[in-house]
Symmetry: C2
Subunit: 167 residues, 2 copies
DNA sequence: TTTTAGTTTCAAAAAGTTTTGAAAGTTTAA
DNA sequence: TTAAACTTTCAAAACTTTTTGAAACTAAAA
């Protein structure tokens, strides 16, 4: 296997992984392509490499910027926009965790808060409802705390803790 | 808000959450419905409550059994099958982590292993490729270790560690 | 054996998501 | 100005996933 084949393989697999995580294939592949590139790339290069349309490339690049995983750059004397990925994997993970927290954890916690204010009787159904929702809230709040903490913590603290934990 | 409304709200939101996680709405909703039920339920009850077809209910219930999140039960003198959910949230999370590990972590690690065996030159592209894939493998292997560890560890060990960590 | 009560399957339809490509918009240079 | 280089938008097309519903299947009861 040479570099081109290895790159291709990795980009494809990153696309598959993304799509099982609710991130569309093109977005995940652009992310992989830019992570692997030492130089920033133009929309045309992305289109050419991944065989996707201009609209698709543009939309997903903007989504990646929105997620804080890709940045724009201008080169002196050039009108084109250049794109490059966040390379520090710790930052990549922090960004993803922060975004997913905002999109997923916050809404479910809001619902849990709302339903916990409901007037619920002491029937078996009512008791079970209270128990299950309370348990879920307790676990989610722990994860939520962990993410908030990780977001604040420095570069490698979290990974060091993780390493110690599993050693 | 009464119990029925609260249940409805929670089931709907669990469906939304599931679908951003690559789990289809019906599957997530059936799971929520069964988690909230103190008694096991039949296919007809699930169909009625969630307003879905028999085929859909059957398919997704089997998928939930496959994921180890739902069990079947027979009641003496009855021909119908009854379904109930795993209620211990720790077990639920362990199961989900185990399944996702099998479906996602294992394949990407395999690809990372393959590409790390590729013959890659020392061009800037080659160097970047090696660096990025090595970094990713190192992080993924830590998570992988954590999941394996959690899978083996008892009931609340993990949550206790988590609690201590974020306190 | 035949009927009845249930479960499973799967092709087709519906719904949802992604992608395209061309037109509209924007910015810089001539 | 006007033209050229580039980016953005968005309706329609392509593709993917989910859902339906009826037929096939299975097992227990009559």
């Amino acid at each position: 296997m040479n570099l081109e084949e290895a790159k291709y393989k990795f980009i494809q697999e990153w696309g598959v992984l993304g799509s099982t995580w609710g991130i569309n294939r093109a977005m995940a592949q652009i992310h992989a392509y830019l992570m692997l590139s030492p130089e920033s790339k133009t929309t045309d290069e992305v289109m050419e490499e991944l065989k996707i349309s201009r609209g698709n490339a543009n939309m997903n690049m903007r989504a990646l910027i929105d997620w804080g995983l890709v940045y724009k750059e201008y080169k002196p004397g050039e009108r084109k926009e250049y794109f490059y990925a966040e390379k520090d994997l710790w930052n990549v993970m922090k960004q993803i965790a922060k975004e997913r927290r905002k999109r997923e954890i916050v809404p479910i916690r809001e619902v849990l808060k709302e339903v916990s204010a409901a007037e619920i009787d002491n029937s078996p159904e009512g008791k079970e409802f209270k128990k299950v929702t309370k348990d879920i809230d307790s676990i989610i709040s722990k994860f939520d705390g962990l993410i908030e903490m990780a977001a604040k913590s420095d570069q490698n603290w979290f990974l060091k803790v993780l390493t110690k934990l599993i050693k």
